[in-house]
Symmetry: none
């Protein structure tokens, strides 16, 4: 019981550090020193640094990002309306910290995809799941006649995901929350034209 908590505590601290410094810049030594624990504790739970990174992806980043979109699966109304609300809620949660560190999902994709397949496959799996949720919701909307039959669900789902990623990127360089909000507004407007 103490077990689970210590592991989680370590993992979350490492995650915090990784958000700023990246995986390669993550310094396990320093993080545990700040936590007041020792190497023994760290290596008790994680055999090496990569297993830390994988655990962060599997246990924190994945659940968090998929969790944002899961409700769309159960949602019965117009998926485009749902997405507009989703965007709004993400816009509201978007803080000064976010604009600095950006999206941990994006960051890892850029940093680790070319370096390690273990990372890439895990990150791809997350992205694919989100893509599938959006795609299926759009397809359902088409079947129910509340979403434009013109659009291709798979393609638009990618475009939406791409829009999020891109918004994170440009707001991060510009260090501007406003830019993030405005750009997602543009995306929102575009999605609005697909409603029936």
């Amino acid at each position: 019981m103490q077990d689970k908590n210590t592991r989680r505590l370590i993992l979350e601290s490492l995650y915090e550090d990784m958000q700023v410094n990246g995986f390669q810049g993550l310094r396990a030594d320093k993080v545990i020193k700040k936590l007041g624990i020792t190497k023994g504790a760290l290596y008790h739970y994680f055999p090496d640094k990569f297993s830390i990174g994988y655990a962060i992806v599997d246990e924190i980043i994945g659940p968090t990002f998929i969790g944002y979109w899961l409700p769309l699966k159960a949602y019965k109304g117009n998926p485009l309306v749902f997405m507009e609300k989703s965007i709004q809620s993400i816009q509201k949660q978007f803080s000064e910290k976010n604009v600095v560190v950006g999206s941990p999902l994006s960051n890892l994709i850029h940093e680790m995809s070319p370096l390690d397949e273990g990372f890439r496959i895990r990150l791809q799996a997350i992205v694919n799941q989100i893509h599938q949720i959006i795609e299926q919701a759009l397809a359902r909307g088409q079947q129910e006649g509340i979403v434009s039959p013109q659009l291709k669900p798979a393609e638009l789902a990618w475009f939406i995901l791409s829009g999020f990623e891109g918004s994170y990127s440009i707001s991060k360089v510009a260090k501007s929350t406003e830019l993030f909000v405005e750009n997602l507004n543009t995306l929102k407007q575009y999605l609005g034209t697909m409603k029936i």
Copy 2:
């Protein structure tokens, strides 16, 4: 005596390595050793690692990316047509290597923006210049009545940039050139609706 050439040679090799490993993962010593150049030469041109990174941004990444969009400034026709062609040419140049390492501009933004203001400011300057070129072209199009008066040039310019960044991201995780091409097609279609 081969001043400019040696420096440039070193810089380009370092740039290649950085595209794969990131700035933090860049191992300057190893790269120059491969070139048959010694540390003395490296230190002669670059007093420290950050000066390498800054030089890569200032002398390679900046000119390259801004160079892509510079012709738009001189272009006299419909800017949206120009951009469709630009996208097409980028799509054609997009290779297997690109899908693995992604966009060096994107990568540096994600990795270094939160870590070092020197990087962030340089990268922001590049992005801002491209944004300005697009924005001004769109505004000109509006004045000439060949671009929809509804759209807001600044906002759309960001959306376009964001679309590129996002396309790089999702194609990088998915390791799929097709996804890159398809997603930019979606963007292209969207831009097409703005033409008059």
Copy 3:
């Protein structure tokens, strides 16, 4: 498991090297390599080079030099007699090695005082303690009427310390043990004139 011993072993080896090469000339890596110890062990006990230097001052030089004079505190007879004996014993211990490397206290004072306050303060504390021991002994001697009431204990204590330092210096340049012995004889004679 051999915690204390390993640390002490490392420290003493480093001390030996520092006596010859000075603190700046001390090459920690090489010294421990000779001992068959690795950098991991060194870094475990000493996070950086200054912590090595400080430890040498605090744990070796300080105790050694103060230890020479500590018996004077407990001594009940004429302090000037004690000092004559002290000088004699130092003269006898003075070896060929000493004349080459000189006094580690002197050496560090000259090398590190202007460079680092951490060193200077530690060295000053050692010198001050010795000074205080001598001063108090002289004052006691005056109260007991066995030491000339003319002399000022604090000033003479400094003169004695200065005499030692100076003797180390001149014998070191001249590479002559005889000079060390003779010069302290002159000091001894001078002190003899203060007795009552």
Copy 4:
């Protein structure tokens, strides 16, 4: 003509740096950069680092320190009176900078004597010359009956030199000009007892 000046300029700058950092801590690269000249100039005048150190000793330290005592050679009065005046003038010149960096002669003796015979021999030659001047002056005083016949000129000359060295040492650790002045006062008093 320009030649001689440049060489001297370089030498004096290097000397300044060496006073603070010692010979091993002397960074020729940095000094010349501060002077706005390049490696070529430095290595035009000095083949290597040791020749710099030797030149500093031979051309700056030697002449300066011997210069302090040369007038004693020509002096016709009581040498002990001359020395009292010398001490007074040194006390007056003694500044805040001196108390920090100490005596360059002392510093080099402590740092370089055990490391390099080239330095030791040069430094010894300087010390010996000063010693000889003092010794001969004292001997002359004895012949003229104005200096106590009891004292041994050679020994007292060493004691005087040692007194200076020691005073530099203790004032340097204590970072106290007062201590330097007071301690030389004690020496002055001692010398006064030798007059006839």
